[in-house]
């Protein structure tokens, strides 16, 4: 199973810190800018990359990621082009774990077997598919595991101890803890509660636990990083990207640097978190 996750989490743990997981939407605001941004993320301090697959009806996402998806679709992004972006990314980067995150319908229409083959070959390590709970594992989760791709499950505040084993059963790579009951980029999670939740999940699994949904600032990222193996930031990066766009949502010279500078600040905060706790 995708050795990149294990290596990266181990390396972060050796530095005594959590991993920074960054989310951007593939093709937002256009393919070239998005690819340039994707390639710039590791140097800016992203340890793991989540690449959003645009979908017209992203039910679990807040306004920022909804708008990013629509910008990408308007610019002609497709699942095939997103896989192609990963292939380009892998030409320069053989170590950063990369997760495709999205909804099931584009994958279903692409064809599950064809998708798994193409994604694996392109260098994808794992999948987060929001609308596939364990009850639908036969659809993509089990075929993905068989194809050597991690199926990263979301655990949420409504996932109780009774349900956790089912949620964790076929999970690989890491567990994504959704820190709030809600959509992406909405409420701010409470760091203490998140810490307790992560501890609860860790009683059921040896996999690393990353925490996301609602983490926006370096300060918040540092707080969350103090109690988790990874911290995911998405909507805040999308907001930073959007703020630089010109008329008709076109990229400007400021677009890529705006996102990478926020990633650097987040990375610094995450790197400082455990050190500060240890001192």
């Amino acid at each position: 199973m995708s050795p990149r996750f294990e290596a990266r989490f181990k390396a972060c743990a050796a530095e005594g810190r959590a991993a920074l997981v960054t989310f951007i939407t593939a093709g937002d605001p256009d393919r070239e800018t998005s690819l340039a941004l994707l390639k710039a993320l590791p140097a800016a301090g992203a340890d793991i990359i989540e690449l959003g697959v645009p979908f017209t009806d992203p039910m679990a996402d807040g306004p920022a990621i909804q708008a990013a998806g629509l910008r990408a679709l308007k610019a002609g992004q497709t699942l095939a082009k997103t896989i192609e972006m990963v292939r380009e990314f892998r030409k320069d980067d053989a170590t950063t774990p990369l997760v495709l995150m999205g909804y099931y319908n584009p994958v279903y229409i692409y064809g599950v077997d064809r998708f798994l083959k193409d994604a694996k070959e392109a260098g994808v390590d794992g999948l987060v598919v929001v609308d596939l709970p364990p009850e639908e594992d036969g659809e993509l989760c089990l075929p993905a595991l068989k194809a050597g791709l991690a199926f990263i499950r979301l655990a949420t505040p409504t996932t109780d101890d009774k349900r956790l084993p089912a949620v964790l059963a076929n999970t690989a790579g890491f567990v994504y803890y959704v820190s709030i009951a809600g959509i992406t980029g909405a409420a701010t999670p409470d760091a203490d509660r998140v810490k307790q939740a992560v501890a609860r999940i860790k009683r059921h699994t040896t996999l690393p636990v990353a925490v996301g949904f609602g983490v926006k600032t370096p300060t918040q990222a540092a707080e969350i990083a103090g109690g988790a193996d990874g911290v995911v930031v998405g909507s805040a990066l999308i907001d930073a990207l959007r703020a630089t766009l010109g008329e008709g949502d076109t990229a400007t010279p400021a677009t890529v640097p705006a996102v990478t500078s926020l990633v650097s600040a987040l990375a610094q905060a995450v790197r400082g978190a455990r050190r500060a706790a240890a001192e």
Binding site: P54, F55, T56, D57, P58, M59, A60, G62, P63, Q66, L70, L73, T78, L79, A80, Y103, Y104, N105, P106, V107, Y108, I109, Y110, V130, D131, L132, P133, P134, E135, E136, R153, L154, A155, T156, P157, T158, T159, D160, R163, V167, V178, A181, G182, I183, A186, A187
Partner: protein
């Protein structure tokens, strides 16, 4: 495709009708859906719940709704003998209230004080707002901004009834986007909120549960037709957006092979124009809003925007059980254009003194086509699922009349 012994046993324990249905929702919602399923199973087995439903349907909704012989419409078309199942006479003006009563009583049993709903034409929203007023529950209705504009009378009704109406501006600003927004609300307010879905779609158990609540339409029709004619109808016809009024009429007859079943989708400007809402005719199987079903989409799996003159049919999907009935061939799905529906709307108003909603006007449009080709002893039931009062401003505008 294997033809099953019975068409009435679905779904299986995972909510599947053949390959359709299922539970394609985010993990946050999964425990809620499982709770709902348990609560619904408990309620079904509880005589107190059944008694409460029956009393509500009789004294508040006004059931049974009549099965009415449309004499002048029949004469005008000169073929099949046409009956209207008068769901438009229900309290709130459509069949939607049958389902909402069931779900609101369930929400009360589950101790949920806050109800959310999506609505297209506003009929489901009005029914939900009505029962929330009746039982003192907080009500939030999500409605596409386009629909808010074209269904102004229903928006006002919902507000009068004490509901908060939230115009949804994302995507195409119609029913599918309202459903996305309702799901986003539910995922955020998991502890106190009950999502009252208005049609036979969404994650299991909604398609089966809503069908069960609407099946009273077909059960009554069966009894009433036996009383009126001494035999079962020869055909049933109903319009389909998500398909709840149709499923309610069809389901009790699925195992009567002599009964021909027609579902009518909205063809908008015509199927070849691409601007329509006919998921079975113009779509293919995919996954959206918690279930696998026929959907309108592009080659990348991106959901297409539906079009229909009728806000209630303007949805790019259809209930999963309809998809299954389509694939098994038990029901036949056809479509009517905006113009055909408008014509039927006017014709039935003049011939029968009944102004139908634009939604059942689609079914009536196909009755106009089919009835003359059928013998005079052919008994045809059309589900008059709603009344047209809400459509008066929109139709007046289209016909160039200022009111």
């Amino acid at each position: 495709m294997n033809v099953p012994n019975s068409f009435r046993t679905g779904p299986d324990e995972n909510g599947h009708f053949g390959i359709f249905g299922g539970r394609f929702v985010a993990e946050t919602l999964m425990p809620l859906i499982l709770d709902l399923q348990t609560a619904y199973e408990d309620a079904k087995a509880d005589p107190a719940y059944k008694a409460e439903m029956e009393a509500g349907l009789k004294h508040y909704v006004g059931r049974p709704s009549p099965l009415y012989f449309a004499e002048r419409f029949t004469e005008h078309l000169g073929g099949a003998k046409i009956y209207f199942k008068r769901e438009e006479l229900n309290h709130t003006g459509s069949h939607k209230v049958n389902n909402v009563l069931g779900q609101i009583l369930l929400a009360r049993r589950m101790g949920k004080p806050r109800i959310i709903a999506e609505t297209g034409a506003g009929q489901h929203g009005v029914a939900t707002a009505t029962l929330c007023a009746r039982y003192g529950l907080k009500c939030v209705v999500y409605m596409g901004a386009v629909d808010v504009a074209r269904q102004a009378p229903n928006v006002f009704r919902m507000k009068m009834l004490g509901a908060e109406v939230v115009p949804v501006k994302s995507g195409s600003s119609t029913l599918k986007d309202a459903m996305n927004e309702a799901l986003r609300d539910w995922v955020t307010n998991v502890h106190d909120t009950f999502y009252c879905i208005g049609t036979v779609a969404g994650p299991h158990p909604y398609p089966a549960m809503v069908r069960d609540f609407q099946s009273i339409i077909g059960h009554e029709t069966r009894e009433q037709m036996l009383e009126a004619e001494g035999r079962l109808p020869d055909s049933l016809i109903a319009c389909i957006g998500g398909g709840s009024n149709a499923m309610g009429l069809f389901h009790p007859f699925l195992d009567d092979p002599s009964v021909k079943i027609w579902g009518v989708e909205a063809a908008g400007h015509g199927i070849p124009s691409g601007q329509h809402a006919a998921s079975l005719t113009g779509g293919r199987p995919g996954v959206l809003h918690g279930n696998r079903t026929y959907l309108l989409m592009d080659d990348d799996g991106q959901i297409a925007e539906a079009h229909s003159i009728s806000a209630g049919l303007d949805y790019p999907g259809i209930g999963p059980e309809h998809s299954w009935l389509h694939d098994t061939g038990r029901a036949t799905y056809i479509s009517a254009t905006d113009q055909e529906a408008l014509n039927a709307f006017q014709l039935v108003s003049k011939l029968e003194g009944i102004i139908p909603a634009l939604e059942p006007a689609h079914a009536l449009a196909k009755v106009i086509e089919l009835a003359p080709t059928l013998p005079k002893d052919h008994l045809m039931v059309v589900n008059l699922s709603g009344r047209g009062d809400k459509d008066i401003p929109q139709v007046a505008e289209i016909l160039g009349t200022k009111i």
